[in-house]
């Protein structure tokens, strides 16, 4: 108290001294302010830069893979080379099993035809000097294309003796060479192709026989090991689609139902508290744990098939469930109680209130949450590896019970392929497809939110 009485009015001198002190530090403080602000801005720029770097590098690597070296040439289905019996037809008194066996024998015969020779002939028509080096010429076209010829004949035996203009995929190494994805100055020993094949490839490319054409292969073929250039995403895509469907059919209704129960019906007691804590924790459990769960429960205990989308779908559904529940609950929470009270007040039952008033209002929010959950699920890899989905599958699955891979697993498998020059681009292309799928799902969710969002 005595201090206060000593100077009831701070004298002008003291006040000035104080102001000098304040001003002295001012420059330093403003520098600190600018520095701090700059650091914050750099953090944002760093984040944005990383997004840009990620997307640009993936696009730069992946986009060229959508165009693939293709040999456009005329093929003569030489009857001298293709000598096969007519296709078997059902005999009276023959069981279906017997017919199928004869059919298979016929197919084997068709497969045994020297299709390579037909391909070689077609190429030698463009490269007369290569006539003496048939096995080399064959390296221009990917090995799977001979089955394409076979399938055409099986489909339509009338082709034999005809000529047809065909687009044949070039070998993966030819694609790599023409796109410059391998260092052209490397010595022969380190090149994947012999020198004359490289020269032929360049020559045919210049003459327009080999062209870069949009690769439908990528979208319509399943994975392939023997014929790398014909490896496609269709199998993985269909597998992912099945899993997405299962997640939508299982996780979304169950998630919404449990959210409705917890938010609208559940009494506040220890049990519901437990469910609450449990769901929040489940949402943060690493995805790989769900894979272990799937391996132990679905595969070991229930004996479900390995590598099947049905198991993958179940695992992903369990993983997505908490996301859907949390999103739905927060949407339900945002709906003002007045709406419920209004409905209850005119004599609607609780169930009617929820079905007629609350859920319709919450629908956009629920859908948005569900879509985001589904998008997350189809990008997930780790749990799928543990239930055998990393097996190589060379067919498009017909049902969710067939063996299959998924898009992210396909990316994992392709990035590990030994022919890196070819598969780095192919993997990036697969990533682009996956990201496009996820982004379109997310864009749809954002559109839904924008379109139907209500503010209270």
């Amino acid at each position: 108290m005595d201090i206060q009485q000593a100077q009831p009015n701070p004298p002008a001198a003291a006040s000035d001294k104080r102001r000098v002190r304040v001003e002295k530090s001012l420059q330093r403080r403003h520098r600190a302010e600018r520095r701090f602000r700059f650091i914050g801005m750099s953090a944002v720029v760093f984040g944005l830069g990383m997004v840009a770097l990620l997307f640009i590098s993936i696009l730069a690597k992946g986009l060229p893979a959508f165009w693939q070296a293709t040999v456009v040439t005329e093929v003569y289905f030489d009857p001298e080379i293709i000598r096969v019996d007519p296709r078997p037809v059902a005999q009276p008194g023959e069981s279906p099993a017997q017919l199928r066996e004869r059919e298979m024998a016929w197919q084997t015969q068709v497969t045994m035809v020297n299709w390579n020779r037909i391909l070689e002939d077609s190429l030698i028509a463009h490269l007369p000097e290569a006539a003496s080096a048939r096995p080399r010429v064959r390296q221009l076209v990917t090995s799977g294309e001979r089955f394409k010829l076979r399938d055409m004949v099986v489909e339509n035996p009338g082709l034999i003796g005809q000529r047809a203009q065909l687009k044949l995929l070039a070998d993966a190494n030819v694609d790599v060479w023409l796109k410059g994805n391998i260092d052209r100055s490397l010595p022969d020993a380190q090149q994947q192709l012999p020198p004359e094949v490289r020269a032929w490839a360049d020559q045919l490319y210049e003459r327009g026989v080999i062209q870069m054409r949009f690769s439908t292969t990528l979208f319509v073929n399943p994975d392939s090991r023997g014929s790398l250039a014909s490896a496609g995403l269709a199998g993985a895509f269909v597998g992912s689609l099945y899993m997405m469907l299962i997640v939508i059919l299982l996780a979304v209704p169950v998630g919404v139902a449990s959210a409705v129960y917890l938010e609208e019906f559940a009494p506040r007691n220890r049990f519901t508290d437990l469910i609450e804590v449990n769901i929040n924790n489940l949402a943060a459990v690493p995805s790989i744990i769900f894979g272990l769960l799937g391996a132990a429960v679905f595969i070991n205990w229930f004996g479900m098939p390995l590598s099947a989308p049905i198991v993958g779908g179940l695992v992903l559904s369990l993983m997505t469930l908490p996301t859907v529940i949390i999103a739905t609950r927060s949407t339900l929470k945002a709906i003002p109680p007045s709406i419920r009270q209004a409905a209850l007040g005119i004599g609607a039952s609780k169930v009617q209130t929820i079905l007629h008033h609350v859920l319709p209002l919450a629908l956009p929010g629920i859908l948005t949450g569900a879509i985001i959950g589904v998008a997350q699920a189809i990008g997930e890899t780790a749990p799928l590896l543990l239930i055998g989905m990393s097996a190589f599958v060379a067919a498009i699955p017909g049902t969710p019970f067939d063996q299959s891979t998924a898009l992210p697993v396909q990316i994992y498998l392709w990035q590990g392929n030994e022919l890196r020059n070819f598969f780095e681009a192919r993997t990036s292309a697969a990533i682009i497809v996956l990201l496009a799928l996820m982004l379109s799902l997310n864009a749809f969710a954002i559109w839904l939110r924008k379109r139907f969002e209500k503010r209270w």
Partner: protein, 457 residues
Amino acid sequence: MNNWVLVCVLLVAMGFAYQFGTMRSRSLVDGKARMHSRPVHHGLLVALWCGLPAFTVFLLWSLFEPGILRSAVLNQLPPDMAGLQGHELEVLMRRVQSIASGFGVSDQPAAYELAAAERLRSLQGTGRLAMIASMAVLAVTGLVYALRRLSPALRARNHVEAVFRVLLVVCSTIAILTTIGIVLSMVGEALHFFRFVNPVDFFFGTVWNPRFSTTGAGELGQFGLLPLLWGTVMVSIIALLVAVPVGLMTAVFMAEYAPGWVRALAKPIIEVLAGVPTIVYGFFALVMVGPFFHSAGLAVGLDIRATSALTAGVVMGIMIIPFISSLSDDIITQVPKAMRDGSLGLGATKSETIRKVVLPAALPGIVGAVLLAASRAIGETMIVVLAAGNSPILHANPLEAVSTVTVTIVNQLTGDIDFASPQSLVAFALGLTLFAITLSLNIVALYIVRKYREQYE
């Protein structure tokens, strides 16, 4: 195929039952009595009575039919065939099924096969007839019973709503069942594993060298957890060292400085990082970041492996940035404006206010966010699978390759899963460890964050 038809028929029947119910309910209205429930509810109740019992029979039948038929056929086989085991038995059964379905087999079937097929076919036929008949009887009985019960006083709505509620309760227990399933399966298989390996050797072992399962049980290999755990911790720490400063400063800038349009533009873009699948980050680390670090290391005379703890950690950090930034952003904006005004009113600059008042006040929440991020980093799999180099050796050099718990789980369980070998089972012991660590981190983090929210509500 046939089953689908059956289900559809049942659904159609339920539709009719609904119609009957509503019609009958309307006819009841003629009397003077006041209806308790509306026709809709009567209809639904009748449909449920018609459909549910029949559907239950259908489910039970589909579940048990194959087993019953199989044992019936097996009993009928001649004694010398009944002793068949495993694969041969499967082949025989498939042949029998194939003959029974009329598809036939390509060679001449044996007499006992034909007999078995005949029996299988007749059993299938009668079984199916019995099922369809019982379903039909139940459906009709249910329908008639429910229709007769309809009266103005019937609390049909309450009955229907009770079914609805039971359905909701069942759905919400699935989340609990999942947790129980995780714990039980992990603990069960891990205990199985500990029959081969002493838990002390597992939890405190410093060497990880499990050998291959084909080399036989004689050489068990060493299952030391510590190198893997250390690798996990190292990668996670590097990830947090990248993500926490960047994420936190991003949140601060977004919440306190950025003008509205920057916020509206930059925030969703950065959050895109959270939606990118981890396999994509793994690939990014493998083909971009790893080689970049390697050549940068060469330039300054450092030997940095392209796949190393550093590569995996940095890329994982990038992945976690939006996680930290959006959580911290929420937390920072929850700090009351009064607190900021108090500081600004004293003449503090904005950064002083943030550093000395806002951030300390938000600290508990931010700690919670960082713990959640740590749990995510520890459980992250694909980035480390691709970019950490998979070398389970105990060392402290972040420029070298490491292996983590998650990577090892993938390695041990990819390919054929043999639930009898310690080489596969160890994955569950590792999973249990991982689950315990992340669960405790999550519980602590969620608790802190919730307490923080309550403080400012």
